[in-house]
Each structure stands twice: as structure tokens, then as C-alpha cells.
Amino acid sequence: MIKKEDLHQITEYLWEIPKSFNPKMLVPARFYASQKLLNEILQDKSLEQLVNVCSLKGIQKYGLALPDIHEGYASPIGGVAALKVEDGVISPGMQGYDINCGMRILTSPYQEKEIRPYLERLVDQISRDIPSGLGQGRETKLTLTQLDKILEGGAYQLVKEGYGDEEDLEYCEAGGYLKGAEAGVVSDLAKKRGQAQLGTLGAGNHFLEIQVVNQIFQPEIAQVFGLFLKQVVLMIHTGSRGLGHQVATDYIKEFLPLSEKYYLNLVDPEFACVPFQSPEGQACFKASQAAANYAWANRQLISYYLRKAWQKVLGERDNTLQVLYDVAHNIIKLEEYQLEGKKTLLAVHRKGATRSFPPGHPEIPLKYRAVGQPVLIPGSMGSPSYVLSGTEEAEASFYSACHGAGRVMSRHQALKKISGQELKQKLSRQGILVKVNYLAGLPEEAPWAYKDINEVVEVVTQAGLAQKVAELKPLAVIKG
């Protein structure tokens, strides 16, 4: 296990494991943490896993982790690896199985007091209209032709078919689809898994929450984002479902026998990789982008059904839910950085890390360009969520911030602490309505199974990776 003595403290919130720590490291490892979070991080194997990230061919500057880092598989969750496109690798295990797992927030024009009387009906209607739960799909399957269009067109394809407005795409990372996606490199098995799951939440830590803006930290930025105090907003957390899981599995499996061909030494088979520019690497990138498009389409279709449910309860004319932003936290993206005086194209692998572009960045919607990209950070049921904004200083983290609180307790342990019914009642006493398909599993995602989100966000803010704009408190949680 890595000990505190192995670490070099760079600033109050930034720590380094030097390259000399392990001969396999090509660059040092860096991570952001307060003293309190550091003590938690040292309890699991996340730093050992971060050291392994530093052995990936083509890695630039350092292997990086955010303050919500926790032990995962291959890379820790909350990890970032920026790999040079020219001579580096692509590693699906460094992205994770839930490709483009991410967040979307829709804002309403209403205050909490206006929505409270409708809350229970809203929750019932939403949970009827949007399947959630373990393996739950929709009754109507997409045809393979329809699915291929989604894989290549993402949320854009759905908007073209009438499932949303063009404005939705404007406020979605990448405009709701990555142009490099290719349906032909996605396996039949992955497609089969994706046919019935578009527009579904899934289970685990995925959720849909009705929230209220509880605190505003930056009034001017909040105003640009369309946020105000006591406002009701809706947060969606889900990804590419079984299709994305299968794409990742397919390419890790395909890459395993190729390490000899490309002279790559793997510290863990889960890091199976090939050169980014190789034919196999390019196919993987195209498939990965297709899965990312599926995830954006998934959140778009959920938004469509959410708006329908909203109208059913609040009146047919109430078409008032607007997308604030939609951003991935498990993804491989091509981004350009200035390295050693040269513009360098990097394949930034984010596994549990949210992109955090600064003011002025051309990939941010025009409306937000002066203030920075909205960075959407979910809490866990009883705990708050946050809206942050990207900063220039975040270049140090390859423009990445945390993606949540990060687990500290196993699901097994969490289940032993409290029953689902007790937790539901406890949350109800706090004014939080819970609708869940599998009540016994609810404690797996209890707030105490996670680090203190306030502390995690504070470290992100103090380290300059993003700034706090608003805190959101849950009113209702819909889960699988």
C-alpha cells in the first residue's frame, strides 16, 4: 500500500507520487485532496491504480486523479490520462464500461413552493413513463436501422425526429453527437443489448432527481446558466446502458492478444490497449464514439419523456423545461493542449471525471462562453449536488473536475447498515420523496456510502479546477 511518506505535497490540495516510485511509471502521478480526503484515499488501492495509469504509453505530464478518487478496476474511478494521439495508445479500460455515463440538468421556471403540491404526482408519472431498474427496457425495440442512426447521430438524430428542440443540442457537450462515430464497428451483440434500452435510466447509481436550488455562490454566473434561488430543476444521471458496456468489453477482449504485436507491456489486463493510430485503435475510437452518441440520445429521450410527464401533471401547455447542460464523465475525447511550446493532440481518457472547459473555450455554448462550461456534479440522494463552472486554472488537470463524491463504503457494507424501508423513511423525514423499483437495494447508494460531497467540491474549488455556482438539494429521487 502507498503511504503518506511516499507522497510529495505540491500545494495545500495537490499531491504527487514521483516517477521514481515505480520503474514502470513514465510520468509522475498527481491527485487533488484535502488532508481529510487523503486519509480516506489511503484506505484503498486507488493510488496504486493511479501509479499503474502512469505506465500507459504516450501519457503526458502526469497520471491524474480528482478528489473523488476511489478504487476501481485498472484505473481508479476519478482518473484522467491524457495520451498523445501521435504515438500513444487507446485503452477502453481507462474509460470504463459505462461509456459516456454523464449528467444532464433541465431547469424549470418554477419555485419549490409552486411544485411541492404536484411533487408526488410528478414522481409517479415520471417513474411510469421512464423505465428504470435492473435490466429494464422499453416495450418497443429500435430496429437495427434506427439504432445505427442513433449510433452515428446521437441526440441530434432524435431532435431531427422530433424528440426535442435544436436548443437542447446547443446545450449538450459536442452538440449531442460525435461526428467520428461509426455504427459498423459496433458488434451485433452490443446492438442487440441497445435495441430496447434507449430512454431508460438503468440501476446502480443512476437516477433522476427533482431538485431545488438551495444556495447560489456566483449570482452572475448562475444568472447566465438560468439558475435562481428556490428554483426547481431536474437532474438525469445515466449513460450508454448495455450497449456501452458491450462495446468496452468487446474492445478490451480484442486488444488482449495484441499487446505482443504492438510491444506493449500491460501492468493489468484491464488496461488492454493498442496504438491510437492503429487500425484496431481507430475502430475502437469510432465504436466508443458511437456508444457515447447512444448515451446522449438516451439522456435526450429521457428528457423527452420527462417533458411529457411534466405536461401531463402541470398542464399540456407547460413546455417549460430547458436543458442547462449535458456533460459526460466517462469518455475518450480528442483535445488540443500546448505541450513544450507545441500544440499537441491528446486522447483525453476521463474515467469518472467531468470536463471543465474555461471561459472563452470555443466548444462552450455561446451563451456560456464568457463564464465557463457548466460542470454538473451529482450528490447521492440525501446529499446535495452542485453546478460549477470551468476555469482557466483547470488546464493543470486537462480541464477536468470531479464527477461526484466517490465511494468510501462497499455496497455490501452499506446494505448492512440500514434497510431500504428505513432509509426511505429517513429521507422522507428530510422532505425527500423516494421512488425506487428495488427497495432492498436502496441503501447501496445511501449518502454515507460516499465521501462528503461538500468537501470534494471544496477541494475542486480551492484547487481552482472549477468554481462553485449553485448547490442543489434533492426534493425527489427516482431510481432503479
Binding site: 448495455g242 484491464e270 432503479g480
Partner: protein, 137 residues
């Protein structure tokens, strides 16, 4: 039945240790363990679903992970659990088998994938085969 499995601690996902006398029993044990994670429903005495699998991989450990991933995908597509298998041919890199399963109403746990994280098969002090597998939840 000469296999058993135990749940090991992991902060986010599910880590299972499977111990068996033979390679075939290691596959049988791993399959049954995954089925118990997916559902709490008792397994029926006869199975309504049956599928053929034909897989190859770089070594026995990754072959086992590939096998579980294949079963997991079929489970999701069929909304079913497959707790039993009949092996026709097994080497360190190839598997031909039939899996047997039954439809369920709802999964108890969502497994996103069976990972290859540090996967390897070792022999314990009693001469039995052991593998630790991490499931991404």
C-alpha cells in the same frame, strides 16, 4: 459440486473469489456465483432456456472472464439468468459449452461487466484452483 465462492471487500464494485478442484468446476462455480448475484430467486429443477457458446481467449483466466461476459450479455438480452453449463470442450484457450437458464421478472443487481482487472488463476495450498474476479456494478 466441488466449488465454492466468497464475496471479498471492494469499495465500489463486487469482488468474488471462486475456488474449485478442476478447471471445469471453476467455470461452473463462477457461473453459479454470478447467477446468485443477478437473482435471489431459487433456481428451477429444469431450465427453459439453452444456448451454445464457442469462445477462445489468450489464457484460461481471460477465457473465464470472456465466458461470464458472454453469459451476462445473453442474460440482459433474454431477461434471464443462466446458472448451469455443460462443457463439451475446454482447454486453456478454448471453450465449447451449453448454458441453461430461466426467465426472471427483475434482476437483483445490475452487473455492467465482468472485468479483467488483475485476473489470474492460482493454485492454493490444498492444490485447488482459485480466481478473484471483479464485477463492475
Amino acid at each position: 459440486m466441488v466449488y465454492h465462492w466468497t464475496v471479498l471487500t471492494h469499495p465500489a464494485d463486487l469482488k468474488l473469489k471462486i475456488v474449485a478442484q478442476t478447471k471445469a468446476e471453476l467455470f461452473e462455480g463462477a457461473l453459479e456465483a454470478m447467477a446468485h448475484v443477478l437473482t435471489k430467486e431459487p433456481f428451477p429443477s429444469s431450465f427453459s432456456l439453452q444456448q451454445e457458446l464457442n469462445l477462445s481467449s489468450v489464457n484460461l483466466a481471460t477465457l473465464l472472464v470472456d465466458f461470464l461476459n458472454e453469459v451476462l450479455a445473453q442474460s440482459e438480452i433474454e431477461q434471464a439468468v443462466f446458472p448451469r453449463l455443460q462443457i463439451k470442450h475446454l482447454t486453456d484457450t478454448q471453450l465449447q459449452a451449453q448454458i441453461f437458464g430461466f426467465k426472471i421478472e427483475q434482476f437483483q443487481t445490475q452487473i455492467k461487466a465482468v472485468t479483467y482487472h488483475q485476473v489470474k488463476i492460482t493454485q492454493n495450498s490444498q492444490g485447488k484452483l482459485e480466481i478473484i474476479i471483479l464485477f463492475d456494478l
